[in-house]
Subunit: 245 residues, 4 copies
DNA sequence: AATGAATGAGTATTCATTCAT
DNA sequence: AATGAATGAATACTCATTCAT
């Protein structure tokens, strides 16, 4: 049923898989085309038959990743936010999400947990490509800004599919700078860091894979909870409010 | 004799500065020795007079950074934790820090704020080398594990100066796995991410440098506060407890 | 069966035409087989179905050109020289052509004019292949000596069809070294140069195509006239004689 | 006295000499950089130390040749034409050079002979580079138009040093299209052809080097003489005039 | 301390040619 | 007759490193 087609993979796929593995292990600059050919078990020249060059492979890999992530985000928006807004159980205010009651908050937090679990799971499955993305985003390369796709998904810009989706749901909510920054450095980047350092971290701690993931998800939850206040979720992390708890 | 210090840096310093800049911009593999020579305005062969090779420069840079960070951590332990323990205002329990009263908590949180400010400031000043550290830690290189220095500083190991310091203060506290993981992904890595992506993030947002730093520090605070419960700080992020608030 | 000739050239012809164009534009070494395939709009492998390799195409092209030129020369010999000899209006002496009278000279010069016109016209039509011939003749290649076909046509050698033709007409005339050299560098090569540089020269001057050709033919005439002396044509360019005019 | 410095040539010179030889033998495209390195007996990488690439060597070679030729032409203009104009023995008319008497013509023709001898001698000495120039001028390369330097030297253009020299001598003579064409295809190109095909032609004929050169010069003379008419040299080859002789 | 020259081992890419279908 | 895939041998060019001075 789920018969895996390991043997019958064609050369092009083997090249891509080899490139992903090597770029993620040695970096783009540290990977030689002949390494890719060797690992993919193809003739070096064949790589140039399918791709215009080493960089072309990188571009294709990252483009695919960014497309996947965009689709993933879109799906979350649709499945969770938009539907609750339509239900009337969630209302968007200037600087917070206000839920109709405690039940709605719990339901939302539950769905967030599910979303985080899926996101972490996706990130782990694609940790090699994400590692490549991170490596490239740290250099002055053409892919330097690819990591900021996540920020761009929050932009009010017609080229942004997420924004257009939200527009159609009549959402005129404004992300505050603080919220975006918090989201970026304490929600999105931790997941990315978790994915790219997963294997290393596992080796350094003595935790089981399962445990490690669960504890990480628990920590994620902590950072969300930090913003919950009654049946509202603050879209800005204001110390005074939180400290007053 | 001691003259000729101010007028202009000597060649060796210029080489190091050039290497830091280029490694952080293009990565170690992406940087050519001749690039360094050009930027430092020295003859390429002179680099081999001062260093045994390209990798030697990298090693020296990272060793220095790691030493600085270790010293920085030691200082924090001494200045804050150890002294409060000696005062008797702080007691270490199995899974939490218990303070003598609310005042002591506030005082500790205050000193934490100061520490974070200093840490962020240090990270920003050294963001180029930290970027290099991060780049190398993402590859299968000899420096792959340098990032885990932070974890090693929590190890019960005689080679660990922090641990020895704590031992001398008779501290038999046990960091829980959860606490370490939370610290790593939601406290240390955000600071590192903030430093390495600082310039890019500033460009992508429209925030002023000052604002950006303050907002980031505020967010850091939020993640600490998430662990405060009465006059205790939980060394494990337990949802049940926190949600019960 | 014989149908499908007009509708569109078949692949083989397209390959040859593409090769002629590309070899003449970029040289043999500068042309890639895939360039030919692309221009001919055929699959690269098909070229190896029709030809044994890249060089095979070149050989075929040049062989065809050399055959054409040989035939062209033969035709001239027959139509002009041999017939006049048989008429008795032309006699071949040791170092000159002696005509029976001024009329015969004029008639010969006229036919020469026609011959030049035809030669120039042929050269222009085939300027791409001639350019290839010239390019190859300038290199140490197997075709290096193909250009000297023209000289070989003057050799006393049984493999030389022109010589055999002349033999049959009982012509024991001896071309002088001077005459051959003059012919080669001031009659044949100018035509070849004119053909291969035609397009470029046209661009550099502002002359119309028609004008350019006529002026060139006029110049050819001048070099022939330089050898006419009374009703004789000297087969050696002797300054003393000519200056005495 | 004329001690040759074969041994002590430095690497850069050896590279250039090797490149000249190989480009002229195999063409630019047909020459491998490693061939040059082998012939020059230097390490391949050293070629890239002195030159930016294979093409750079070609550019430098051709630039040098074109500069030499320009200087050569300038010298001729100065030494022969300008001086005769100044002493009143030569007058430039619309379409002809008019000399003061037969003596002046002979003197000019003499100096022309000397000039031709020098030109042929220069061309032979530099026949390798000229061959390269010719090869490149036959391709659609950046040097395609370098051969037309000769035409450009006749242009009325301030960038043209020859023209400026002539201007200073108050010469407002107009070259006719016919004259330029005749000069190009029957004076300049024959010399170039003679140079590039010299070795091959010598092999194909059985002439001695000395003889070959003298006969060629004699032929050159013939083409000049074809334009002499009394004590005038026609700057256009008009059949009617010449035939009437 | 400094440098111009030199080099061995790579490194991405190309290209004529072949193969299986 | 035609083609997509595949390959070995090159080929221009690079780069860390060394050497002689």
């Amino acid at each position: 049923m789920v018969t895996r087609v390991i043997e019958s993979e064609d050369s092009k796929d083997r090249i891509i898989k080899a490139a992903v593995q090597l770029f993620s292990e040695k970096g783009f600059d540290g990977t030689r085309v002949s390494d890719i050919a060797d690992l993919a078990d193809v003739n070096k020249a064949l790589i140039y038959y399918y791709f215009t060059g080493k960089e072309d492979i990188l571009d294709i890999l990252l483009r695919q990743l960014l497309n996947d992530i965009t689709a993933f985000s879109m799906d979350f928006i649709h499945t969770h936010l938009i539907s609750m807004i339509r239900d009337g159980t969630l209302e968007l205010k200037e600087d917070r999400l206000t839920f109709i009651d405690k039940n709605a908050v719990d339901s939302f937090l539950d769905s967030m947990r599910g979303y985080y679990r899926k996101a972490v799971s996706y990130a782990l499955e694609n940790r090699q490509i994400i590692r490549i993305l991170m490596l490239e985003s740290l250099k002055n390369s053409k892919h330097q800004n690819d990591l900021y796709l996540f920020l761009k998904l929050l932009n009010k810009n017609d080229n942004n599919p997420v924004y257009k989706t939200i527009l159609n749901a009549d959402w005129d909510f404004n992300y505050s700078d603080e919220f975006i920054l918090y989201k970026f450095f304490f929600s999105m980047m931790p997941i990315i860091n978790f994915a790219v350092y997963f294997d290393d971290y596992k080796n350094h701690s003595d935790m089981e894979e399962e445990d490690l993931i669960n504890r990480f998800l628990q920590s994620c939850q902590t950072t969300i909870n930090a913003l919950v206040c009654g049946n509202e979720i603050l879209m800005r992390n204001d110390c005074s409010i939180i400290e007053s708890r």
